[in-house]
Symmetry: C2
Subunit: 382 residues, 2 copies
C-alpha cells in the first residue's frame, strides 16, 4: 500500500487568479503545500497559499525556481511561457497539463487544426493570410486572433465586406458563423494513468456588452442525445490532446442539431465553478487529483445550480465596493464568492454567485434577482 | 443599500487549528482578510490565512494586537484568556461569541448551573468539594474537571467507591450516569440581530479507547419528535447563553426518551464538519456570517453523510504518514480533509473524511471501509 508523507504533494501554480485561488483552497483542504507564481503581490491565490513567488509568467528563472520547489506544476491561465515550460518538462519536472498540449491550445488555429484532423467536429475555419481570406465563407463571419485572446477579447464579427477595414490585426483565422441553439460546456478530467471522467453538460449564457460568459445553467436543459454526444466528444477531445488535468470543452449546439467544439481550456473553467457546491468532487479538487495521479472522484451532480459571474461595473475602477450583498445572502441556496482582487475595472471578473435549488427554474429566478441586486463598483469613477 | 468595501471584513481568529483553518477558507471565499493568532508558526489556519501573529492565546499584548488590526475577533478553541478578552470587549472591540458567554462555558460547572437555572434539561450534577460529594449519586458516576478538559480529557467514570482513590484532582463536579440511547448534537447559529437557525440533528459515535468523537451520522436516525425537541432545546440554550456565532449543543437522548444537554461548544464543531459538503450553508460560513451580522444562510441538508475523524494512530509521532489514501479516493462521494498539522501523535485529530450518499446506510458502509483503510501513522515509532 502506497504511503504519502505530509505534505501529500508540493504543488506549484503559475498564475494567482481566481482559478488558482480555488485550486489552492482544495489543495490545502487535502494536505498539500502550495506555491504560487504571480507578478502581483498578494494575488488572490497567493493570499490562501503557503507561499507566493513574485514574478512574471514568462520569467525563466522564476518558472525554474517554482519547478525546483514543487513535486508538480500546473497553471491557472494559458498565457504562460511554453518555451521555458517545455525545457523544464524535458528535464524531467512534472508539469501538467503538458506544455506540449498547452502549446497546441495556445494557438487557436493550431488547436482547431489538431482537433479537426483527428475527427473532432469543429466549425469550418480558415487561416487568414490576405484580406481575401476574410471573404472565403461570405458574411457574417467570425475573425479570431490565434494567440492571447480571452474573455471575448480577440474575437471580431465581420457583418459585411465593409467591416474588413476594422478587421483584427496580427495572426488570425476565420470561422464560419454558426447558427447557435445553445452554447454548452463539458468539463473532462483525465489523470496520468488515463482514467477519464466527464461532468454534466452545462449551458453558458454570455453578456453581450463584453462577450464574457455571464451565467451558467447546470445541468444543461437539452435533449438526452445531445448530452450524451457532447460528453463523448469531450472525452475524444481530451484524448486527442493527450490532456492531463481538468479541461473545459466549450461547444456549440447548432440549430441543425450538430455539436461543434468551439474552444478548449486546459484547466478548470468558469463553466465549472458550480461544481464546488453541486458535485461530489469539484473541478478544482479533480484537477489536483488528476495531475498528481490520484484516483478521480465522482462527478455526480447532486443538485441543480445557476452560476452568475460578478463583473466589475462599467464606469468604476480602484478598490472594490460591493452593493446588495446583505440583500442576496438571505436567499436560500446562495453561495457568494469574492476573489479578493484589490482593484476592480469594467467587466473584470471579481467574484461569482452560485444559486442551488432542486428546481432549476427557481434557481434561474433567484439568479436573476442576484444579478439585479449585486453590483461591484469601485472607489474611483472613470 | 449598505455598501461593503473590500475586504468585506478583517477577521481575527484566536487559535489556528482545523476549525480556524476551515473558518478561514470560507472567510477567504467571501472576500475577508484573515489574521490568525497561534503560538505554532505555520499553524493549519495560518497556512491559509493572510497573516499569522505568533503568540500565545493568553498573551495580553498579542490579543490586543489582533483586536486592533481586525473588525471582529473570534476563536476556534475555548481555552482563551477571557480576562483579557473581556477587557478588550469592554473597550469596544467586537469579539464574538462574547467573552462573557465564553467564560460561562469554560467552567463546565457554571455552564451546567446556568443552563439548569434557566430551565434547560441537563443530567443531575453536583459540585465536588470533599470526597463525600463523589458518593452523592451512588456508582457508577461521572466526574468532570470544571475547566480545560476536551476530547475526552478531564472526564473520569468512577465505577465503584474504590475508584475514589483514582479520582480527578483540581476543581471538579459529578454528573449522574445517564442511560444513553444515543449521543446527538445540534448546531445553532445566532447573529447579532438575533436571527437564529438550527442545523439537522446528528448522531455522534465515540472511539472508546480515547473517548473522542469518531463518527458522525447526519441526519440522526431518531424519531421526529426527538429531532424537534432537540432543535428547540438548542435554540433555547443559545438564547440563555446570549450566544452570537455557531454553537454546538451536545446532548444525550436517554433510554427513557429524555433529551439532556451534555455540553456546549461556543464555536463550529466536529459534529458539523459534514455541513461543508451537505448543507446549503456550512457551519464555518454560517459562523462568519453570524459574527459579522450578515444574514444567516439556509441550513438545509441536501444529502445524507457520515463523517469520520482521522486520528493519529497509537504508537506513532512525528511527521504524518498517510496510508490507504489512494484506496479510498476512488470511492464515490468521499471528501478527504487533512489539517496540515506537522506532527502526529496518538489520537490527535489529523483530518477527517466525509462520505455522502443519498442512502445513509450505504454511507455508513463506505465510512466503515474508510475507517479500516486509512491510517495516519508517523515517521517515528513510540
Amino acid at each position: 500500500m502506497k504511503q504519502f508523507s505530509y505534505p501529500l504533494f508540493k504543488l506549484g501554480i503559475v498564475g494567482g487568479g481566481q482559478l488558482g485561488k480555488m485550486m489552492t483552497q482544495k489543495a490545502k483542504k487535502m494536505g498539500f503545500h502550495v506555491t504560487i507564481l504571480d507578478p502581483t503581490p498578494e494575488s488572490p491565490a497567493g493570499q490562501v497559499a503557503d507561499r507566493q513567488i513574485i514574478g512574471n509568467f514568462h520569467d525563466e528563472n522564476k518558472l525554474e525556481e517554482l519547478a525546483q520547489n514543487c513535486d508538480v506544476v500546473t497553471y491557472d491561465l494559458e498565457n504562460v511561457n511554453t518555451k521555458v515550460l517545455k525545457r523544464l518538462f524535458d528535464k524531467g519536472y512534472k508539469i501538467f497539463p503538458s506544455p506540449y498540449t498547452l502549446e497546441i491550445i495556445q494557438d487557436k488555429y493550431i488547436q482547431k487544426k489538431t482537433l479537426s484532423k483527428n475527427g473532432i467536429p469543429v466549425p469550418e475555419y480558415k487561416e487568414v493570410i490576405s484580406c481575401d481570406d476574410l471573404k472565403a465563407f461570405g458574411f457574417p463571419v467570425v475573425q479570431k486572433t490565434r494567440k492571447g485572446g480571452y474573455d471575448g477579447r480577440g474575437v471580431f464579427v465581420l457583418k459585411s465586406e465593409k467591416d474588413i477595414e476594422n478587421r483584427l490585426g496580427g495572426e488570425t483565422f476565420i470561422e464560419k458563423m454558426v447558427d447557435i441553439e445553445k452554447e454548452i460546456s463539458v468539463l473532462v478530467a483525465r489523470n496520468i494513468k488515463g482514467e477519464i471522467k466527464t461532468y454534466p453538460v452545462v449551458e453558458m449564457v454570455f453578456d453581450e456588452r463584453a462577450n464574457i460568459c455571464d451565467t451558467v445553467v447546470a445541468p444543461a436543459r437539452i435533449e438526452e442525445k445531445f448530452l450524451k454526444a457532447a460528453r463523448e466528444i469531450a472525452i475524444e477531445t481530451v484524448r486527442v490532446l493527450d490532456g492531463i488535468g481538468v479541461f473545459a470543452m466549450e461547444m456549440f449546439l447548432t440549430k441543425e442539431g450538430k455539436i461543434l467544439v468551439n474552444e478548449v481550456a486546459p484547466r478548470p473553467h468558469n463553466s465549472g465553478h458550480h461544481t464546488i457546491e453541486t458535485c461530489l468532487t469539484c473541478q478544482f479538487e479533480q484537477h489536483i487529483r488528476a495531475i498528481t495521479d490520484l484516483p478521480l472522484g465522482s462527478t455526480k451532480q447532486i443538485v441543480p445550480a445557476v452560476m452568475i459571474n460578478l463583473l466589475g461595473e462599467a464606469g468604476y475602477k480602484g478598490k472594490p465596493v460591493i452593493e446588495g450583498l446583505e440583500e442576496i445572502l438571505s436567499i436560500p441556496g446562495i453561495s457568494f464568492h469574492f476573489y479578493c482582487k484589490k482593484e476592480t475595472k469594467p467587466f473584470r471578473k471579481m467574484g461569482h454567485v452560485t444559486v442551488v435549488d432542486k428546481n432549476i427554474e427557481k434557481a434561474i429566478e433567484k439568479a436573476d434577482i442576484v444579478k439585479r441586486t449585486v453590483k461591484i463598483k469601485g472607489e474611483e469613477k472613470i
